[in-house]
């Protein structure tokens, strides 16, 4: 963490628009791998900066207030699906959430329905793999002897577009965490599964 560029200074970013808001992050903390860990909420206060996303805010907290805070980010652009978390009650991507759209008190919790790694980090990959294996969401070939040199049959562009739309699912897990039935029933496949299944069926 220490070798990454520091997040923009909040005070420097307090522009002519007025003094920066004080943001209070109430973060649900727990490390299930630590027997001594008890789920609790920590409160971190930072100054809001112009254009601040939760990605920037959480990095600032980790770099200046608590280096042990666990959360996931990779792309910072809403593509990798790593930063899904519950923000003020609703699951969404932290990197796509601007703090200016939130009140000064922000509650953060890990996505429910997934295995908790620590704090705001959950193992969505394990869930997605389990779902995929259970529903067999891959292209099932009935042809025993596939001739790899054969020219593929052309696909209707409209069908290709529809498959592409379904295949855009980044498996962030927000739809599963936002689904009341998936919360109540662990075996419920959820919306991400529909997308995966339909994609596989469409391709087949």
């Amino acid at each position: 963490m220490s070798d990454t560029a520091p997040a923009p200074s909040a005070t420097a970013a307090a522009t002519a628009a007025g003094p920066a808001r004080k943001l209070r992050f109430h973060v649900l903390r727990h490390d299930p791998h630590d027997p001594a860990s008890v789920p609790h909420t920590d409160v971190f206060e930072i100054d809001e900066a112009a254009g601040m996303t939760l990605f920037i805010a959480l990095n600032e907290i980790r770099e200046t207030l608590d280096a042990s805070l666990a959360f996931d980010f990779v792309c910072r652009a809403g593509i990798c699906g790593s930063c899904g978390m519950v923000i003020n009650g609703r699951p969404t991507l932290a990197c796509r959430t601007l703090t200016k759209d939130l009140p000064t008190d922000i509650m953060l919790a890990p996505l429910p329905a997934f295995e908790l790694i620590a704090d705001l980090s959950v193992n969505t990959g394990k869930w997605m793999r389990g779902m995929s294996e259970r529903l067999e969401t891959w292209v099932h070939s009935l042809d025993e002897d596939v001739d790899l040199r054969r020219i593929e049959a052309p696909m209707d562009p409209d069908l290709a577009d529809r498959i592409y739309e379904l295949d855009r699912c980044i498996e962030c897990g927000c739809c599963v965490a936002a689904c009341g039935t998936a919360r109540m029933r662990e075996d419920f496949v959820g919306a991400a599964s529909s997308s995966a299944t339909t994609t596989a069926c469409s391709v087949a």
Binding site: R90, G180, R183, M184
Partner: protein
């Protein structure tokens, strides 16, 4: 070579059947409300509608079993729909608590609407069964005076009042969710489609609630006036004097 077991398809078929029975029942409830509210056009209008379903205009005499048959079909759809919908209900207090907490956190109208659909659906298990059984076993007691007597003198109005709200909320939410689920009326902007559907849904719910309350009040008024002659059949004005 080992035979691979196919992933079962019956959950999808059951879901389709739940949607289908719900759609049929929801649309039936709207049509039903129009027939029942014919009382607002006058007793003769309601009498005419009631006789129509008894085949009076086709066979020259009322065949009450036709109504019983129709109610039996609706009752069957209702039972099938209820049995399938039970799969979605919270199955324990723990699940109920999880959903309540989820709903309070999400603060999303559609999440809240699903909860109210479950609550009203649960209420309809009992209320709709009472109504359907009476309609199936006493189809001869449907008419301007007969229905008004049932509403007022037989003390059915409290049940009908609560059931009106339960049906309109349950059916309205159900049809709205069906439209979302199966992509009916979907436009290029999913959020705009959802907003339009939701507005349309609330407008329809308001319309049918107003129509339903006005209709119930009309039956209550007739029921109060007709209470001294409880049990008497209605004879339309255009037949008065000609019938024995």
């Amino acid at each position: 070579m080992a035979t691979r077991l196919e992933a079962p398809r019956w959950p999808a078929r059951l879901d389709l059947l739940q949607s289908g029975t719900g759609l049929a029942l929801g649309l039936f409830m709207w049509v039903h409300m129009f027939f029942v509210s014919s009382i607002l056009l006058g007793k003769d209008a309601m009498w005419t509608v009631a006789r129509f379903f008894e085949g009076y205009y086709f066979f020259g005499r009322p065949l009450y079993w036709l109504v019983s048959m129709l109610v039996a079909v609706i009752f069957t759809l209702f039972v099938v729909h209820a049995a399938l919908a039970l799969r979605k209900f919270p199955a324990s207090y723990r699940q109920y608590r999880i959903y309540r907490e989820h709903m309070q956190g999400m603060k999303h109208e559609d999440t809240t609407l699903w909860y109210w659909q479950v609550v009203t659906g649960f209420a309809l298990f009992f209320m709709a069964s009472v109504h359907l059984y009476i309609m199936m076993t006493r189809p001869d007691r449907i008419g301007p005076f007969e229905s008004a007597d049932r509403v007022w003198s037989d003390l059915m109005w409290p049940l009908y009042l609560v059931m009106l709200f339960a049906v309109e909320f349950h059916g309205g939410i159900g049809l709205y969710r069906l439209a979302l689920k199966w992509g009916w009326f979907a436009g290029p902007d999913a959020l705009a489609t959802r907003r339009k559907l939701r507005t349309f849904k609330w407008a329809l719910t308001a319309f049918f609630l107003v129509l339903g309350i006005a209709t119930l009040l009309a039956y209550i008024k007739i029921g109060i006036e007709h209470a001294p002659n409880y049990g008497e059949h209605y004879v339309p004005t255009f037949l008065q004097g000609s019938a024995p």
